[in-house]
């Protein structure tokens, strides 16, 4: 088979770039030249990774439910832990999302990052390897290693190249997510001792008893809820976003938050179906609060990045509802919503980055009337703003519609309550857009502000295309994931049904 090592190639190509950048240290070029070669190496390495990952999509067989491109090599033999990677319809697009956004981030940082350029690029490429690894890992320990390793480059990216309160933000990000992950690690060890394996496909069919499932589910929830993030453990996110450099925010919103949602789909639903069912109402409650409360908070923000950060929490509320209603529309919608949010919020942060680079302010009140000087920018921003609201024809619509459909099937109230998020979302995004783009161009500093340059257009074009593509022809995304989701849900329902059949007197209260 020619595609035997395709997955490992996708995971480790960025590291090849890291090695090349390290070589520039040995060559002792002058600073300027070394920085430039680091930028170019990072671009080529990340573009190469993206190209390789496209082969995954091309070669992916959408008629198969199981994992594909599997590689399994003995690794920690004494514990039976393998280097085991593979993707199914669910992880395929998360891999693509990561490899798609990284080159964009690298190009977007071209002039914004001026000091420690080599270290920055090394951190970004390492981050890419870890992110792709998370979505490909089919061994729990391997998953955990990638999942937590992400923290190291992220901590450094925010801490070194971030804004004035970067230290606080990077510590908060690190400690919050670490606290979640270590509890997950303990749960993984319990799973290993109970089930005797760390192989994820095997564990998906292993039946843990109900009491144990509850504890394990909670431990995993601690990790994924912080990561995604859910209300009330979301407070690290606005801080991290505001202080991170533009590309850091992009990757944070674009990919890192998705690890939480992916974790729910990969671990919580298939491994602990009974516990997922028990806790679903809790998740719904927290999600509804997230959708309504953080939307309102977003409405009151004076800082553009903070506003988009809070809107992320609200959007992720949709995702968690979609996942835990556990029906075909809901889960599909959640995944599409994550992908769409990955692109759209990334693009919105880039939009903020564009004006921040020119004006060095993220305060909404410092802007106004930009449409007069920056028509191209206004057009691009509008597309993403509308996609974030969920206008039909954009990627945001598909996800939100499916989640709402799924929610309606489960419970009308949940659907009605999260639907208010759509209205509030339209309110804060339009309000933001009006205050920045429309109105009179009154501020003197803005009179000479320049429109998008070629490099920025190069960055935005693929994002616009993908947003429209997902909105107009979502089938090309829905098709590959369909069978995998169906299988996930069939197994889930089967587990619930067989438990119900086995214990006829129990009352499955929350269904």
């Amino acid at each position: 088979m020619s595609n035997l090592y395709l997955l490992s190639l996708t995971i480790f190509t960025p590291l090849v770039g890291v090695l090349f950048i390290l070589l520039t240290y040995l060559l002792r070029e002058d600073q300027e030249a070394a920085d430039n070669s680091a930028r170019w190496i990072a671009v080529w390495a990340s573009v190469a990774t993206f190209v390789v990952s496209l082969f995954l999509w091309v070669d992916f067989d959408p008629t198969k439910a199981g994992f594909q491109f599997i590689e399994k090599v003995e690794w920690i033999s004494s514990l039976g832990i393998h280097y085991h990677v593979g993707i199914d319809g669910i992880s395929l697009f998360f891999v693509l999302l990561s490899t798609f956004l990284t080159p964009i981030c690298v190009i977007a940082s071209w002039t914004a990052i001026r000091n420690h350029v080599r270290e920055y690029m090394i951190a970004f490429l390492a981050l890419e390897t870890f992110m792709v690894g998370v979505f490909c890992a089919l061994d729990m320990v391997l998953f955990y290693i990638f999942f937590e390793a992400v923290l190291i480059p992220m901590f450094i990216i925010i801490g070194v190249w971030g804004g004035p309160r970067r230290v606080y933000a990077s510590f908060k990000l690190f400690l919050y997510t670490l606290l979640g992950s270590v509890l997950m690690l303990l749960a993984m060890l319990v799973i290993y001792i109970t089930a005797g394996t760390t192989n994820i496909p095997d564990l998906m069919t292993y039946e843990f008893n109900r009491g144990l499932q509850i504890w394990l589910w909670l431990a995993f929830f601690a990790s994924f809820a912080v990561k995604i993030p859910m209300w009330p453990v979301h407070t690290w996110l606005p801080d991290a976003h505001v202080e991170a450099p533009t590309a850091g925010s992009v990757i944070l919103a674009g990919v890192l938050l998705k690890m939480g949602g992916y974790g729910f789909l990969r671990f919580s639903l298939p491994m602990f179906p009974l516990a997922s069912d028990v806790f679903a109402p809790v998740v719904f409650l927290l999600s509804i609060i997230a959708v309504i409360y953080t939307s309102l908070v977003a409405l009151a923000q004076e800082d553009m990045k903070k506003l988009i950060a809070y809107s992320s929490v609200a959007h992720m509320g949709f995702v968690t509802v979609g996942i835990f209603v556990a029906n075909q529309q809901g889960v599909t919608g959640a995944i599409i919503q994550m992908l769409s949010h990955g692109i759209v919020s990334a693009a919105l942060f880039l939009c903020v980055g564009v004006v921040y680079d020119r004006r060095h302010s993220r305060v909404i009140a410092d802007y106004g009337g930009l449409v007069h000087r920056m028509p191209k920018y206004a057009a691009v921003f509008m597309i993403f703003m509308l996609a974030s609201i969920g206008l039909p024809g954009t990627s945001g619509f598909v996800g939100e519609l499916l989640v709402l459909l799924g929610a309606f099937k489960s419970n009308t109230w949940i659907a009605a309550l999260i639907a208010t998020g759509l209205i509030l979302g339209a309110a804060y995004m339009l309000y933001l857009y009006r205050r920045i783009i429309f109105g009179l161009l009154k501020k003197d500093e803005l009179l000479s502000i320049a429109d998008l340059n070629k490099r920025e257009i190069l960055v935005f074009t693929p994002l616009v295309l993908v947003v429209l593509w997902m909105g107009i022809y979502p089938t090309s995304f829905l098709e590959p994931m369909e069978i995998s989701i169906t299988k996930l849900l069939v197994d889930y329902d089967y587990a619930l049904a067989s438990y119900e059949a086995a214990t006829p007197n129990n009352n499955m209260a929350f269904r």
Binding site: I76, I145, I152, L179, L186, L189
Partner: protein, 482 residues
């Protein structure tokens, strides 16, 4: 038993004893300015030869000197770590020792003697040989702690270490005497049969064991017997601190394992709770107390207390897996701690060494390579994958959960989150804070080689963890096959 065979079994120790004595004679008759260089090179060489002897000696359990001395896979494993640590410490301390004018030829010799003591400790098969090994180690260490006799802090450290060390030795000896009184024997094999045969454990024997554990807890610096650590670490010359943090910790922990998993395994129900309490206190106190430290050597002292706490989790599990985990943990810890101290030894401003954490500001700019290495060590100590420190913690927690010590594991991971805060603080100071006065750029060749080797080991450990895990597991199984 044939005395020649006895000598053969203890060949690495004998080699070191003979060379140490020889070096002393040579040192006296060599001119003062040349003596240190000559002797330290000779000491490093003999330590490496001893590693070779340990590695290539025949495997299998061997007893010598009327069963006072045991050489088995467990002892060999620890001896390699200890010898390596000693050799590396002499190498990384080379420049610093000259700088602070303690480059006396006695220094490497004392390190060698302490190492011999440690080797005897891990090879002890009797309470008497245990005590002799421990005291040989301690005496040498008391002297090196106070080696910089012109410095008030160093003298104070030496004195403090001596007084508290003597106290702990006294308690240990008292424990031994109680054990002898109630069990009627000092040999480990004899104790094991005595305990296994007893229908119920006598209170005297238990008291003896408690005193023994207290004495050992002093040596591994487990809370609440840790008080001496921060002061001694801070006061002792930095190369000596590096040695304190590395080799004696490992040897004492190994002795702990040997005692608890060996003759007193039958009393596991009794001592397990003590170990768990020691472990929890060490992890929690170290994590909290380290946050407010400003001196990096004091910080490392609390860090070592915390690591002792994690290692004790493995011991508290009372299983073969737990023992394996401790051995893995110790090996990884040594690499991290030597690497970290090598970085600390590089911190110099205008020729004199600096110790404040804030002095690290801007290290990322002025010394990118060292800063990157220290970053790896710090993340590794915090237990972040894919670095080696993560695997140490992974095996420890796995053992704890296997032994159903759930709450201990939860406390452990929570403490590690708090603990990661102070490791991150060092990264923060290095990379996020602005450059204060730049540190000297000249760095010795030896030390940079050792830093790179340690950093690469930590970074690339994940490629093949089995190498270490398998040997640790073989070493641990020696204690459990009866």
């Amino acid at each position: 038993m044939n005395s020649f065979v006895d000598l053969l079994i203890s060949l690495p120790e004998l080699l070191l004893v003979v060379t140490a004595m020889g070096m002393m004679v040579v040192g006296v008759y060599t001119s003062a300015d040349r003596a240190y260089t000559l002797i330290s090179n000779a000491a490093v060489l003999s330590l490496f030869v001893a590693i070779g002897l340990v590695l290539f000696s025949k495997t299998g359990t061997k007893l010598a000197f009327n069963d006072l001395f045991i050489n088995d896979g467990f002892a060999q494993y620890i001896k390699v770590i200890v010898l390596l640590a000693a050799a590396l410490v002499i190498l990384i301390g080379d420049r610093a020792v000259r700088k602070i004018k303690i480059a006396h030829f006695e220094y490497p010799i004392l390190i060698t003697f302490a190492t011999i003591g440690m080797m005897l400790m891990v090879s002890a098969n009797d309470l008497m040989s245990l005590y002799i090994g421990l005291e040989l180690q301690s005496l040498a260490l008391y002297v090196v702690a106070a080696l910089n006799r012109d410095s008030l802090r160093s003298s104070e450290a030496g004195l403090k270490y001596f007084v508290l060390g003597a106290l702990s030795s006294g308690m240990l000896l008292y424990g031994c005497s109680l054990i002898y009184g109630y069990a009627g024997t000092t040999s480990f094999a004899g104790l094991e049969t005595a305990i296994a045969g007893a229908s119920n454990i006598s209170l005297g024997l238990l008291t003896g064991l408690v005193f023994l554990i207290v004495g050992l807890a002093f040596k591994v610096a487990a809370v609440p017997f840790h008080m001496w650590t921060p002061d001694v670490y801070e006061g002792a010359p930095t190369p000596v601190t590096a040695f304190f943090a590395a080799a004696p910790k490992v040897a004492a922990m190994a002795l702990f394992v040997r005692i608890t998993m060996g003759p007193f395994q039958g009393m596991a129900d009794q001592w397990q709770q003590i170990i768990i309490v020691l472990s929890v206190l060490s992890m929690v106190l170290a994590a909290l107390a380290a946050i407010s430290q400003t001196n990096i050597k004091r910080l490392m002292a609390y860090s070592s207390i915390g690591h002792a706490g994690y290692a004790l989790i493995g011991l508290g599990a009372c299983t073969k897996e737990g023992t394996t985990a401790v051995l893995i943990y110790l090996a990884i810890y040594i690499v991290m701690v030597i690497g970290t101290f090598a970085c600390i030894l590089c911190m110099k401003r205008k020729g004199s060494s600096v110790e404040q954490i804030s002095d690290l500001a801007g290290l990322g700019k002025s010394h990118p390579a060292i800063a990157a290495a220290l970053l790896l060590f710090m993340f590794s100590m915090a237990g972040i994958p894919p670095l080696a420190g993560f695997f140490g913690k992974l095996y420890i927690f796995l053992a704890a959960i296997e032994a159903e010590l759930y709450s201990l594991a939860v406390i452990g991971v929570l403490a590690s989150v708090v603990g990661s805060f102070y490791y991150l603080r060092i990264v923060k100071v290095m990379y996020f804070d602005n450059l204060s006065d730049e540190l000297d750029s000249a760095i010795g060749k030896r030390i940079s080689v050792i830093i790179s080797l340690c950093a690469l080991t930590i970074l690339l450990f994940f490629l093949s963890p089995s190498l270490l895990v398998d040997s640790a597991s073989t070493a641990a199984s020696v204690l459990f096959e009866k």
